[in-house]
């Protein structure tokens, strides 16, 4: 994509490159290069080939990561991917109404999720199964959303992981408010400070709520990390439909840092997320992170990507698989042997088996659920509706209900 420098000091008469409906050849090339490389400012610590590359700015944030830790990150990714694939299969088999695949975004999410400290809060969108895992939310607790039995069964307060939010952008403002509260509570300013991380996609950046979240967080110095997973697609629309510039540069318009990290590099995602969260917990928020990654599966199980994107693109990204590069790195450095890899696989298979077992046995919610928790304090009007309906339903003697 075009460099922003040429716009920050505009020369009269000089023209911004057109980037609209019909892109120029130059853009197509730039766009493709960006898609395959992520651009010059991409923060990467582990190459797709598993080489550890130095990064003077961010190395210090993962200096303490041991081989044991790296194996843990590997295990996290393998397990969440396995769970994701199992849920995809469960949907195919009619056990779930729909599934939103995580495939390809494991490194971005595990890196971010593991950077979060217990006292931190996270606000997900609807694809954050990997972050959920890191917050101690079991895959089983996600299933109700997709099976239609509830809207998520974990405790968002206890787990410090908010409910999934489907209306694009809404959670960004909610997170900004929560982070303002952390600051108002005096929980910001030192290593033990609190911070909040909010997750959204490339398409979401166009929503007014995301902009307003940038405005609020910046004028209130909220300890908020905007974690944008740019997986290149908003259903069928490529990122070019949303912005002329790389998304991390959006922060330039608001006066807070924006960094693009290789979202398929779990170590880089961990480092940049730790840095960003530290900035926030010390009172230097907000920060924008663009995790440059790829949605390797369909948008959801009801989507058909063959209608709008080429398989070559997928093939190109497979070479940068987030899990493979860690495996190669571990093995090459003798930090993981076959036994370890096998045990992880075994754990993954067991997780999947338990998940399936749990899913197929999920009970349907009772009728009254419909009327429960609409209000925290009673509504006589609604109670009357409930009673009348339950009486009516009882009339069917459990026949069809």
């Amino acid at each position: 994509m075009s460099s922003p420098e040429q716009w920050t000091h505009p020369e009269p008469g000089e023209a911004p490159a057109a980037t609209a409906a019909t892109p120029t050849a130059e853009q197509v090339i730039a766009g493709l290069r960006a898609t395959s490389e992520g651009g010059a400012e991409l923060v990467q610590l582990l190459t797709p080939e598993g080489e550890r590359v130095e990064n003077p700015e961010f190395d210090r944030y993962v200096a303490d990561v041991t081989a044991e830790d790296l194996r843990g990150l590997y295990r996290d990714m393998v397990l969440v991917r396995r769970a994701d694939r199992e849920c995809n299969a469960l949907q195919r088999q009619g056990q779930l109404g729909i599934w939103v695949p995580l495939l390809g975004q494991e490194a971005a999410q595990i890196g971010a999720g593991r950077a979060l400290k217990p006292q931190d809060m996270a606000f997900p969108s609807y694809r954050e199964h990997g972050v959920a895992w890191c917050r101690g939310v079991r895959p089983e607790e996600l299933l109700g959303i997709f099976r239609g039995t509830d809207n998520g069964s974990w405790d968002p307060i206890g787990k410090r992981f908010h409910l999934y939010v489907i209306v694009i952008g809404n959670q960004v403002l909610n997170a900004a408010g929560y982070a303002m509260g952390q600051r108002f509570d005096g929980k910001v300013g030192d290593d033990d400070g609190e911070a909040t991380m909010v997750f959204f996609g490339d398409g979401a950046t166009s929503q007014g709520d995301v902009h307003e979240g940038f405005v609020w967080a910046s004028v209130y110095d909220a300890p908020l990390v905007f974690f944008c997973q740019n997986n290149q697609w908003a259903i069928s629309e490529p990122t070019e439909r949303q912005s002329r510039l790389p998304l991390y540069q959006r922060a330039r318009g608001y006066g807070f840092p924006g960094v693009r990290v290789d979202g398929n590099d779990v170590l880089a995602s961990l480092a940049v997320s730790r840095w960003a969260l530290d900035e926030c917990r010390h009172g230097n928020g907000p920060v924008l992170i663009e995790a440059y990654t790829y949605r390797m599966d369909a948008h959801t199980t009801t989507d058909d990507p063959t209608r709008y994107r080429l398989s070559d693109e997928l093939e190109a990204w497979k070479l940068k698989d987030p899990i493979e590069r860690v495996r190669v790195h571990l093995v090459r450095h003798g930090d993981a042997d076959q036994d370890f890899l096998d045990s992880v696989q075994a754990d993954a298979d067991q997780l999947a088996a338990e998940l399936r077992e749990f899913c197929v046995n999920m009970p349907d919610p009772p009728l009254e659920r419909m009327f429960r928790n609409v209000y925290a304090e009673p509504s006589p009007q609604l109670d009357a509706q409930r009673d009348a309906f339950l009486e009516y339903a009882a009339g069917f003697a459990g026949g069809e209900h």
Binding site: T149, D209, L367, L382
Partner: protein
């Protein structure tokens, strides 16, 4: 009124064909785009993908990217820019991917779309259509099964319609696009695959007219969109028990065309209004309020309503209990007749 379109499409399509409601919309959009080069389609994923329900399937390929726009992901932006395009002389047809996502555009719709003609003293016309797949019954996640039409029928300056079958879908979308007022067009997504016999040479009824779909004398059922089929099924079931119910499809939700309803209620003395939307302060309230006034001396029982409950739309495993069904409709008819 429909002439230019009919001639155009008559060539394109055979005299009578079996089409789904979704296909009827697709053919209607195509016919409208052929009839008027100013008609453009805007929305999320309406281009190559053809929309998540494929209602705009093939249109970008045939009409180009400047007439079928894959927009950035923001509903206020879709509607707000459509307003400007309409002022410029275009006839934008906006697609809101699911009804639950129309709310980011609510400000533009109530503050600009609904008031533009009035505040400009008629100097500005806003011939734009906002297509909204609505209603439940498809086992979807949150925000994908709601019925927000009442918000819009309460908003002066908007016209609101809903189609219940494939043939109406084909004609009504074209009529809405030709209408010089902004039209909210509610599509019953759970009925997208219901089939109908479409004759593109037929003369369609006017857009803002309700229709009696089945005559009867015991009681009157009024519905729109997805609940029309439910009511027709209920009437069929009732007929087997020797009870003849009249079924009226409102089609126009604002302004309402209640004359046929008044006429019917004066004959039957009993009215049941059916809608998926929560009943409180809804379109069903308005119909009950109007009918009790117009037919005060004809009503043998109060106007009864069968609606969604006054709760958020529940997780989909509960939706068949939330949504009015044949049983609840007939139960209400029984209560009305026994009043």
């Amino acid at each position: 009124m429909a002439t230019p379109v009919m001639n155009k499409t008559a060539g394109a399509a055979s005299a009578t064909q079996t089409v789904t409601l979704g296909k009827g919309l697709n053919l209607g959009l195509r016919a409208a785009m052929e009839a008027d080069p100013k008609v453009i389609i805007m929305g999320e994923d309406v281009g190559k993908l053809g929309g998540v329900f494929r209602i705009t399937d093939g249109l970008q390929k045939d009409f180009g990217e400047h007439r079928v726009l894959d927009t950035p992901l923001a509903e206020s932006g879709i509607v707000g820019t459509a307003v400007g395009l309409a002022i410029r002389g275009y006839r934008p047809v906006c697609e809101i991917q699911f009804e639950g996502f129309i709310f980011p555009a609510f400000d533009q719709i109530t503050s600009q779309v609904a008031k533009m003609h009035f505040r400009s003293q008629g100097r500005i016309k806003l011939p734009m259509v906002i297509r909204v797949p609505f209603g439940g019954g498809i086992g979807a996640v949150e925000h994908h099964s709601e019925s927000p039409e009442s918000y819009f029928s309460h908003t002066a300056g908007l016209k609101v319609v809903s189609c219940s079958n494939a043939v109406d879908a084909y004609w009504m979308i074209q009529q809405a696009i030709r209408c010089d007022d902004p039209v909210l067009f509610f599509e019953p997504k759970r009925r997208y695959y219901e089939k109908g016999q479409l004759d593109v040479d037929a003369e369609p009824p006017p857009l803002f007219a309700s229709r009696v779909l089945r005559t009867g004398d015991a009681a009157t059922l009024v519905a729109y969109g997805p609940m029309v089929k439910t009511c027709l099924d209920a009437a069929a079931a009732a007929a087997e028990e020797g009870r003849s119910l009249e079924v009226i499809d409102l089609r126009a939700l604002s302004p309402l065309d209640l004359a046929p309803v008044f006429e019917s209620v004066r004959r039957t003395g009993h009215l049941v209004v059916v809608s998926e939307a929560p009943g409180e302060t809804s379109l069903s309230s308005e119909i009950a309020a109007r009918v009790q006034q117009e037919c005060f001396y004809s009503l043998e029982a109060p106007v009864l309503r069968v609606t969604g409950f006054d709760t958020p739309y529940p997780p989909s495993k509960l939706e068949e209990d939330f949504l009015p069904d044949l049983d609840r409709v007939l139960h209400a008819v029984d209560r009305s007749l026994a009043w």
